[in-house]
Subunit: 318 residues, 2 copies
């Protein structure tokens, strides 16, 4: 989803880092849609990037910029141990190794989407930039390992990596996925489209959110920033908005009314509750702010308005 | 070296966790010496534990306790990228996977020796238990990844792991190895044996040390402690002594005299200086202390006396 939105933005801009984009390759496990009206050649590839030889093909043309967003999401990586490690750890390492072994001084910028799931409870009130990574999910473990590899491969000069720990993206458009965090978007997205949504946790659950528009902004800034300023510490917690589920629902009521918010059904789910209990609630992302990362929203109400504007053509179902 | 000393201790004790040791298997890349007068059967195996199938054989007899100390040391892992990742990352993961896949409820205690090289400068005055891991060496990266795997495999119930971040072991007996930290021991060990030693860094370099006797104590405590008290955070910084090279030399003078200390030759080495500049200097290891880990020494003078007692039969070369 973020990949699609990033692609749309790059197609609109036609430029990155002040230079024209000359070519784009889109790779996913299922064939990505071929964009219409692209101002430059776009190649689409379908396949498993964690199979031997696939990453080598992806870097054979030496792209100057690589966005690595591929991942098995948290709930699925928890349920399927082997699949999560194969894609999230081995796949990431195979990509980094393909870059390392390409030779001839090849050193692309690599933007890796990590996650706040690298952190595990108990937490301070706001997690600072030097707080340790003790994930309580295999997904978070795999992302934390990807961060370590990215930093080491960058330190050794094989690539110029930036890891960005995305907040939970809210409101995620489209159909529900297998992410344990899916309900944070579902309880807003579905009611705004006239559908019921299930809330599996209590309203006092606090979490860290950013809009898809912010996420695309983070990715583009990570691709264009001066990495020298980040030094060896290339994995950054992105800014976001800390809100409880209750505050999310209150924002929904303010923006869309009581009738929309009444479409949320409370159905406690202990599997989801157990996962979410170990998740971060709030951050103090000083470094990312100092390095120029900014959010598109100031309040949770803005997050809902961005969804209505960007996904629903300005209209929700009352 | 630590493995040999641990073996000697276990042979002397004949017991662990209040139970008699019924069997011991020693594995190393070169055949470990078969201990004389063991009170229980000891099998010795030589080979590369990171080759396919080797780890499976090691766990086939379902040892209740596994000490994983195998590693390519820091200097060598920095010089040989592939070898370091193959042994320190892949080897560790293959061992953990062999345990995971053994089946039948097998869940051994696994003690993994990590390293303070998981931390990278800049540091606070004393590194606390919640400080983040930003290694500045491939070795530290590989150890940090091992820690993450250990925690996740333990959380999922495949094993009962404890990772211990050893201080730099001082005085390491025997011949110099390829560790970039080798000189911390060399400048004491060689002069105490009547030989010259090279000091490649300046005397104001501060570092974190523990004796081999302490290291064996840490390993045995990690093998026998109640891991429930550690919760999900199973990787612990071990206690140690913070000392500058100048303080080390002053201790050598106090314990062994000026003549011994005069055998240290200053020969600055910029490769070593560059590596050591990113290393930790001091820690505040509250959690390990609260969980019962203790050092055998109170001062750096004790560290030198322990070497003279344990390695030199109480005598040094004046």
């Amino acid at each position: 989803m973020i990949g699609r939105k990033l692609t749309e933005q790059l197609l609109r801009d036609g430029r990155l880092s002040g230079r024209e984009i000359s070519k784009m390759t889109l790779q996913d496990v299922v064939a990505p849609a071929k964009p219409a009206n692209a101002g430059f050649p776009v190649e689409t590839l379908a396949g498993d990037f964690a199979l031997p030889g696939v990453a080598e093909k992806l870097v054979a043309n030496r792209p100057e910029m690589i966005f690595h967003l591929a991942a098995i999401v948290s709930g699925e990586a928890e349920l399927d141990f082997d699949k999560g490690y194969r894609i999230n750890l081995d796949g990431t390492r195979m990509l980094f190794d393909a870059i390392r072994l390409a030779g001839g001084g090849y050193k692309p910028r690599v933007v890796f989407t990590s996650s706040i799931a690298v952190f595990g409870a108990p937490f301070p009130d706001a997690i600072g930039d030097e707080f340790f990574t003790t994930p309580l999910l295999s997904y978070g473990t795999q992302k934390a390992i990807g961060e370590l590899l990215l930093a080491d491969y960058s330190r050794r000069g094989f690539m110029d990596g930036v890891g960005i720990r995305l907040p939970t993206i809210c409101i995620r458009p489209g159909l529900p996925n297998k992410a344990a965090s899916g309900f944070f978007s579902g309880i807003l997205r579905e009611p705004l489209s006239g559908k019921e949504a299930v809330l599996p946790v209590s309203e006092d659950v606090r979490h860290w959110h950013a809009s898809p528009r912010s996420a695309v902004g983070f990715l583009i800034h990570a691709a264009t920033m001066d990495t020298a300023k980040a030094g060896a510490r290339r994995n950054l917690t992105m800014p976001g908005i800390s809100a409880t589920v209750g505050e999310q629902i209150a924002a929904l009521k303010r923006v869309a009314g009581e009738k929309v918010a009444a479409r949320i059904k409370r159905e406690p789910d202990h599997f989801i509750m157990g996962i979410v209990a170990g998740w971060p609630r709030n951050f103090d992302p000083k470094r990312a702010l100092a390095l120029g990362f900014t959010t598109a929203e100031k309040t949770f109400d803005d997050i809902i308005r961005i969804h209505i504007d960007d996904e629903l053509g300005g209209q929700f179902v009352n």
